[in-house]
C-alpha cells in the first residue's frame, strides 16, 4: 500500500483519537484502549502466524506474562509505566525465547500444539503460584499511566495510541523489508528457505521473541489501564480471539491485523444488548469470513491453506522436507 494511504490512515486515526479525547466519554475511551491493545496483540501474532507461518495458540499467555511483569513491578517496586512497559516486553520476550529454543525444532502442527501447551502452562502458573501472582485473586490497584502530572483515561488513551503506532510501525517495517521476505519464505516452505541460505532456526527464534515482546508490551498497557488483572484474561480463549482477528483481517497483513482487531473488539460492544448471544455473533463473523473471504479482508495467504499446509508438510517427498527444520 502506498505512503499516501498510510498518511491518510494515520491522520484518520489521529482525528478519531482527538474526537474521542474531546468527547470525553470514559466508556468510549475504555473501548478505544481495549481495541488498541488488541491491535497490538493481533499485529504481533500476525508477525509470527501470518508472515512466518508459525501457528501460535498461546499468544495470550505472553500477553499475560507482560501484564504480570508490569503489575508486579509497579505495585511491589513502584516502577513508573515508562519502565514497566519495556520491562514487560523484555520479560515476555525472555519467556518466549526460553520456550522457543526447545519448540523451534518442531515444524508445522507440532509447533502449534506445543504453543498451546505452553500457553496453558503459563496460565496454570499464574493461577497457582499464589505467593507470587496472588493466583485467582489477581493483582489489584495497579497504578494507571501517569507522567509529568498527566493522568486519567484520556492520557491513557493517548499513550496507548502512541505505543500502538510505534508497534505498528515496527511490524510494518519488518514485514516490508527483506526480513519479511525471509519470514514469508519460512511460511511457504521452511526446508526450501533453509536451502536458500536462511538460518531458519534463528529466524524463528527472533520472530517469535519479537512477537512475544510486543504482546508483553500490550500486557503492560492492559495492566496499567484496567488497574486489575487476573489469570482469566490470559486464557486459551483469548489466544483464539486474537487468532480470529488476524484470520478475519487477513494473515500476513498489518492492515488486516488492525481491521480484524477493530471488528472483533468493537462488535461485541455494539451487540451488548444481545447479552451472551453476542459471542455467537463473533463466532459467526469468523465462520463467515473463512467461508466467503478465505484470505480475510486483506490477507496474503488463506487461513485454510495455511492450516492445510501445516498438516501436509510431513508427507512431502523431497529429502529433508520431512525432517525438522534444522
Amino acid at each position: 500500500m502506498s505512503a499516501r494511504l498510510n498518511l491518510v490512515l494515520v491522520l484518520a486515526l489521529g482525528a478519531l483519537l482527538a474526537g474521542l479525547v474531546a468527547l470525553g466519554s470514559s466508556y468510549f475511551h475504555q473501548i478505544a484502549i481495549t481495541t488498541m491493545i488488541f491491535v497490538i496483540l493481533s499485529a504481533s501474532l500476525n508477525l509470527i502466524t501470518g508472515s512466518a507461518g508459525l501457528l501460535s495458540l498461546g499468544h495470550a499467555a505472553f500477553f499475560g506474562v507482560g501484564a504480570y511483569a508490569a503489575a508486579l513491578l509497579s505495585t511491589r517496586l513502584g516502577w513508573p509505566f515508562w519502565l514497566t512497559l519495556p520491562a514487560a516486553g523484555a520479560a515476555a520476550a525472555a519467556v518466549g525465547a526460553l520456550v522457543a529454543v526447545p519448540t523451534m525444532r518442531l515444524t508445522s502442527i507440532y509447533f502449534a500444539v506445543a504453543t498451546l501447551g505452553i500457553g496453558e502452562m503459563i496460565y496454570v502458573t499464574m493461577l497457582n503460584w499464589v505467593g507470587f501472582t496472588r493466583g485467582p485473586m489477581g493483582i489489584r490497584s495497579i497504578p494507571g499511566l501517569e507522567l509529568w502530572g498527566f493522568k486519567g483515561i484520556a492520557f491513557a488513551l493517548v499513550v496507548t495510541a502512541g505505543v500502538m503506532l510505534a508497534v505498528l510501525w515496527l511490524v510494518h517495517r519488518l514485514v516490508h523489508s527483506y526480513y519479511g521476505n525471509a519470514m514469508r519464505a519460512l511460511r511457504e516452505d521452511d526446508a526450501c528457505a533453509d536451502a536458500m541460505g536462511i538460518d531458519v532456526g534463528r529466524l524463528k527464534l527472533q520472530a517469535f521473541s519479537v512477537a512475544c515482546a510486543l504482546a508483553g508490551v500490550a500486557g503492560a498497557l492492559f495492566a496499567h489501564t484496567t488497574g486489575y488483572i487476573s489469570p482469566e484474561s490470559f486464557k486459551f480463549g483469548e489466544s483464539i480471539l486474537v487468532l480470529s482477528m488476524i484470520v478475519v483481517g487477513g494473515l500476513g497483513s498489518v492492515y488486516g491485523s488492525v481491521i480484524g482487531a477493530v471488528i472483533l473488539s468493537v462488535l461485541p460492544e455494539l451487540l451488548r444488548e444481545l447479552g451472551s448471544w453476542r459471542m455467537i455473533a463473533v463466532g459467526a463473523v469468523l465462520f463467515l469470513s473463512i467461508l466467503f473471504l478465505p484470505r480475510g479482508l486483506v490477507g496474503e495467504v488463506s487461513a485454510i491453506e495455511l492450516i492445510r499446509r501445516q498438516l501436509r508438510r510431513r508427507d512431502r517427498g523431497d529429502g529433508g522436507a520431512r525432517r525438522v527444520a534444522w
Binding site: Y179, R184, E188, A191, M196, I198, D199, G319
Partner: protein, 254 residues
C-alpha cells in the same frame, strides 16, 4: 586426477538408510568452471547424493569438501551461504510471494534483526533488490516481477527457481532435473541458458534422469547405479560404456 583445483570434492561418501545403502563409497570431483552431469536410472542414489552435498542429509561415512574446506555435517543454509546454489526436482517456489520476492529470498543470506530495523538494512535491501533484478533479467522473467509466483507457467517457475539460486551468487550451481516436465523447445532454451551460465564461469553440476540434455551440454558425465559410481568420463565414452548400458537397459544374463 589432480586434487588442487577441485571446487567440490566427495571422498568415499556412503549413506545408509537402515539396510539400504543409497550412496555407496562414492568419490568424485568437480573442477572450477566445469559443467558436469550426474545421471543414473531411477533409484540410483542421485537425489541422496544431492542431499548429502547440500547438507540436507549427513553422510554415514565419508567427507565432502568445498573450495578445500570440509563441509561434512554443515547445515543446508550454511552450505548455501558458502556458495552452493540449488534447485529442486519437484518445484519448490514460494507460491504466495511475488516473483521478485521469490528471487530476493535467495539473496538474503544472513538475517540480522538489528540490520532490518536500522539504516544498515537500507544498504542490504538495495543490494538484494539489485541482485534480484539482475537475475530476473537474466532468466527473462523481468516482466513478471510483480506477479504472484503461483500464477506462472511451469516452465517459467523452473526458470524462477534457477534465478532464485543464482541470486545467492553461488560458485557451484546444482540443478536437480531441470529438464523434467519441459517440452523440447523449452529444453533447448534451457540447454542454451545453462551453456551461457557456464560461459560466464559458473561451475554447474547437472543432475538428470534423462540423458539427452546431459549429453548435449556436459563436458563430463558421472553415472550412478545402485548407489555406486560406475562411470566418470566424457559423454561419448559414457554412452558406449557397457557398464552404463547394462545399468540403463539391464543385462542379458540376469
Amino acid at each position: 586426477m589432480s586434487t588442487d583445483a577441485a571446487l567440490l570434492e566427495l571422498r568415499q561418501l556412503t549413506r545408509r538408510f537402515g539396510g539400504l545403502t543409497a550412496v555407496d563409497n562414492v568419490s568424485a570431483q568437480v573442477m572450477s568452471g566445469e559443467l558436469v552431469g550426474l545421471i543414473g536410472p531411477n533409484g540410483a542414489g542421485k537425489t541422496t547424493l544431492f542431499n548429502l552435498i547440500s547438507g540436507v542429509t549427513p553422510p554415514t561415512t565419508g567427507e565432502i569438501a568445498f573450495e578445500g574446506r570440509r563441509i561434512t555435517g554443515a547445515r543446508p543454509f550454511e552450505v548455501a551461504r558458502m556458495g552452493v546454489g540449488r534447485t529442486f526436482q519437484n518445484l519448490r517456489i514460494f507460491p504466495n510471494m511475488t516473483v521478485f520476492d521469490n528471487v530476493s529470498v535467495g539473496a538474503i543470506g544472513d538475517i540480522a534483526l538489528g540490520d532490518a530495523l536500522t539504516w544498515r538494512g537500507r544498504a542490504r535491501a538495495r543490494s538484494i533488490s539489485e541482485v534480484s533484478t539482475e537475475m530476473l533479467d537474466k532468466v527473462g522473467l523481468a516482466a513478471f516481477a510483480g506477479e504472484l509466483a503461483a500464477n506462472l507457467s511451469y516452465g517459467k517457475r523452473k526458470m524462477l527457481e534457477i534465478a532464485r539460486a543464482l541470486a545467492g551468487r553461488p560458485k557451484l550451481l546444482i540443478l536437480d532435473e531441470p529438464a523434467a516436465g519441459l517440452n523440447d523447445t523449452e529444453t533447448a532454451d534451457l540447454a542454451r541458458f545453462i551453456q551461457r551460465l557456464r560461459g560466464e564461469g559458473l561451475t554447474i553440476l547437472l543432475v538428470e534422469h534423462d540423458m539427452s540434455l546431459v549429453m548435449r551440454v556436459c563436458s563430463r558425465v558421472m553415472v550412478l547405479a545402485f548407489g555406486r559410481k560406475i562411470a566418470d568420463a566424457s559423454p561419448a565414452a559414457v554412452q558406449s560404456d557397457p557398464a552404463v548400458l547394462d545399468a540403463y537397459l539391464g543385462t542379458g544374463d540376469e
